[in-house]
Amino acid sequence: MEKMTIDHTGREQIKARESRFRRRFHLALSGMVVAILISVFLAATYGRFDLSAAEVLRAIMAGLGLRSESATDSTSTVVVFHIRLSRIFLSSLVGLALAVAGVAFQGILRNPLADPFTLGVSTGAAFGASMAIFFGLGAEATLGIGLLPLASLAGAVTALVTVIALARVDGQLRRDSMVLAGIVVATFLAALISLLKSLDEESVSSIVFWVMGSFQGRGWSHVGFALPYTLVGLILVGAHAHELDLLTLGDTQARQLGVDVNRVRMRILLGASLLTAAAVSVSGVIGFVGLIVPHLVRITIGPEHRRLLVLSGLLGMILLTWSDVVARTALPAGEELPVGVVTALLGGPFFCLLLKSKKELRSLD
């Protein structure tokens, strides 16, 4: 009888602790949403054209049609709403897509070093897009949706399949050989992109754009372009958050717990490739976002994918928004850095730390 009571209080304590965790997650979630709203506004105040916070606010209101604009406001409306805000939205969207793709790749390949960039998937997507542009398909559209992301997707999937095939030793995917294969594939494809570029100066726009990634000259049309693909990718990955948890146990256990392993893995890989393709087709190759963000979130809240996906997505939005602010304001005289340079400068050292952190890697053996 006494034992029963003890067990029961244990049960209540555990449940209380679980709901504390849930509350903390909701707090973090609302904190992030607020941070994003503030970020969007603050990021819009940075730029070549000097505008005060009040002017920015007025311009946003005008752009949204909430406020009629006077003649003096129209320039700032164009700058803030059509130039800055569209870039902020696009960088957020790309940050979201890359971070979520990173979580998915890491979970499904059980590899902490996996991300769209290190796996060569991003470069594959860039190569697909370059090919499409080279053959003059870049401007084609069906039902108002651009076909470029589809070409990117084909490139992304091809690169992924190649990397997995190269990294498979005796039917086992090895962590180190996977990153190695990713580097080989990425380098090779980057060289092919350079080749395409030198074959046709006209059609393949700046090679730096594809290899280093940039939001320069991007606008609302690009947001509309990438949005549908990103949404489909998010749904494919997000719908399988629980399965991602179970897949980290390995195929055998996941299957014995009821996961249709092959089908679920295909869907998640497709979703993650779609997210990468959508991001790359509008911004080129931006490295390390999918690596840094999921790790920071995992260290803070643990590996459960439902929460990990949501918070990583949001943090990815913030990280890339600010990386782009740095990219467009760091250099004097209106020059721009490719945003991929900023994320690589942040991500390179982080990647080394990760590679060195024995604890993290050992726990994944």
Binding site: I14, D245, T248
Partner: protein, 269 residues
């Protein structure tokens, strides 16, 4: 409940099970024994459809397993793997909750009933104190207990265990098997792959010995657990004596150098 007929399967070109026919009725508790590489683990994987049969059939609750979806199978059979390779730092409670996956519907999270089932399983295995510890930071034995709790949370009529207590100390081993016996008395069907002959003889009323991918012996423990059978299956001299308290047969191993060949016992060959 579980029925295999002329089951053959393996990995790639290597055939591991070479025609296994078994029938395990509801409410049985069977120990599966045999030397290394005899196909014990593969048999359990074949019963859950993880390893596909190349010929022959596996039926569970009357249904052929290859026709059913993984989540149907996971509502019939729970498995405790030999080595639970769990790398990501999940909380032990989260790991136990994964046992509720086959009951989840749609997009939702685990329901309050799932939470109750998980906590009940942890109470039964006396692992509640581990609930908020990380699975990759507890000891090997504790992790094994948590995985057993996960299998119980699955609330299936059949439970398969592959060396499930190998990392546990004697007291915990007995505790787990006492719990399993109790589950068995309440109607659960259990198939336990074991290396510990004596533990198997103590708890399992039926033993199945595999050798070279075939059933070498199958029958009630008291009938088949004897000097001759064990020595033959393991190619080692083994003597069987009665347990001083329960009277169950218990194996005693004879070191190779000390083999005293007397009339009536096994000679070489």
């Amino acid at each position: 409940m579980i029925e295999t007929s002329a089951l053959r399967c393996g990995y790639g070109k290597k055939e591991v099970l070479k025609g296994i026919s078994l029938r395990i009725r509801q409410g049985e508790m069977a120990g599966v024994l045999g030397p290394n590489g005899s196909g014990k683990t593969t048999l359990l994987l074949a019963l859950t459809g993880v390893v596909r049969s190349t010929s022959g059939t596996v039926r569970v609750a009357g249904e052929e397993i290859r026709d059913r979806k993984p989540n149907w199978i996971a509502r019939q059979i729970a498995s405790v793997p030999q080595r639970a390779e769990i790398s990501f730092g999940f909380k032990c409670l989260s790991l136990v909750l994964m046992g509720r996956y086959p009951y989840m519907q749609g997009w939702g999270d685990y329901s309050p009933q799932d939470m109750e089932a998980a906590l009940t399983a942890m109470e039964e295995t006396r692992s509640t104190h581990l609930a908020h510890r990380m699975i990759n930071e507890v000891s090997g034995g504790e992790a094994q207990i948590v995985v057993i709790a996960r299998a119980l949370a699955q609330q299936t009529p059949i439970l398969l265990l592959d060396e499930a207590t190998s990392n546990l100390d004697v007291a915990r081993k007995l505790e787990v098997f006492d719990l399993l016996s109790e589950k068995n008395r309440k109607g659960m069907t259990l198939v336990c792959v074991m290396h510990d002959l004596n533990l198997a003889a103590l708890y399992c009323p039926r033993l199945i010995f595999l050798k070279h991918g075939q059933v070498a012996l199958d029958g009630p423990t008291e009938d088949i657990f004897n000097d001759r059978n064990l020595s033959e299956v393991y190619d080692t001299e083994i003597r069987v004596g009665a347990h001083p308290v329960t009277g169950s047969p218990q194996a005693h191993f004879v070191p190779r150098g000390r083999s005293r060949v007397t009339a009536g016992s096994l000679g070489p060959g």
